[in-house]
Amino acid sequence: MALKKHIVDLQVVSREELGDRFVLLKCTDANAPLPPMMPGQFAQLRVDGSKETFLRRPISINFVDLKSNQVWFLIQLVGAGSRALGRLQAGDLLNALLPLGNGFSMPVSADTKVLLVGGGVGTAPLLYMGAQMKLMGMKPTFLLGARTADMLLQLEEFQKVGDVYVTTEDGSAGEKGFVTQHSILFKEHFDRISVCGPSPMMKAVAKYARANSIPCEVSLENMMACGLGACLCCVEKTTKGNVCVCTEGPVFDINELTWE
């Protein structure tokens, strides 16, 4: 069931700045069709020309478009590595190891109401998941949170795919507060929840899901070196002991985790 991994030299097709802290890289393989990738999987991107960094950077797969043979990566400019990736320009090559990790469980029935909850740059993999659900004839509901309106990413892309609800901490867009306070959670029932975002947000959503007996998956982003399950650096404590987030995850059912 695991998809075959590849090392590919991608070519950057376009670079788009989303505010001053995020860069969207749309990439293609100029020589071959991109390999199959699942929502929630990630790539290990090699960072060239950065003296301060050494390792690849794990970046989630934001979107895959088979027609244009494109894969998108949404990069938050945090440290030297992500900043170096964010400086790539159209035409530059980007060496990627992909696809890695398990990915989100996809709903099997069109009747399943799925809520996709994202916070900050954690919204990235949810776009691809929502798009895949749409292709399967489902309509996903997105609940996206950010600190401020200008940190809400790719809203128009999400709106093409499903229903979008928004919270911001300062109330500059959507409802004011955290995702777990949004009124949609009190108005509608969801059969399952998939979450990706900052750890406190995921823990809050996990708590909500548990309290309401809703199956819930979260995507973790522990620091990792290899991305292949060899270095054992990215481990998370689970009910099965320490496991690699890069291979057993990054997506975990909340019942597998030892979160309080």
């Binding site: 590849h6 590595g81 399950g229 060899a230 481990v235 320490n242």
Partner: protein
Amino acid sequence: MANLSTNIGALQLKNPVMTASGTFGYGLEFEDVVDLTAIGGIIVKGTTFQPRQGNDYPRMAETPSGMLNCVGLQNKGVQYFCEEIYPKIRNIDTEMIVNVSGSSPEDYARCAACINELEDIHAIELNISCPNVHDGGMAFGVTVEGASSVVRAVRQAYDKTLIVKLSPNVTDIVSIAKAVEAEGADSVSLINTLMGTSIDIEKRKRMLSIGTGGLSGPCVKPVALRMVYQVSRAVNIPVIGLGGISSATDAIEFIMAGASAIEIGTANFLDPAISVKVAQGINEWLDAHNVASVKDIIGVAE
């Protein structure tokens, strides 16, 4: 095509490039992106008699030209290895070598005795140099007495090729190498990681869960190369060189320093296919310089 085969005691490798323990899993994790049979040997992750959970997260910190890790020998134990992993890797057409660790000489010997029963495993690498565990590991590798006691116990339990992996965190690595040779080791591999640390200045806290970790990557290469040079001139058993090797040039430096074979570690994280590229690069260099066999350049550096 030059002759790339090399020998570590009774063990014959098809080429001198192996992958280092803890950086290449059981090989299987990499098979999508690299031809495992083109690698000279695969040293699988550290195995102990009892299962170990390893240290808490965070276990790594990036450094310029390298990284620190404090994984702490997480593994499912030798019984799991023998029953679940060995059947999947025994027929891979390369030398599969098991890295063995423990908390006492008896513990090492018990683990080695289990591996001794596995027909298709022809060598073990004894890890007396892990800097990330409290009980055992490097504690044995930093004294002549400690290193000797482990090798003595394991030698009685293990009758195939015994490689001993040495710690660089010592005053005189040559004395340790000579001691393990005297106890019957067939080869020494060096270096394991150099102990270091890293601090998050915003949190005013060391980054790794146990405070310290082992440094690896290109930044350690000159230290490793110097030690390989020194040790290979002081012992009569073959030396395996490792520490920051990321290219064929690096590998040839180690071979010229005196290594009969080399291991690639951290570089596997940057390019999972690097080991095969290094083996090809060694071949190209030998051909370009009209050298018939890799054995002809072992230890030639003045």
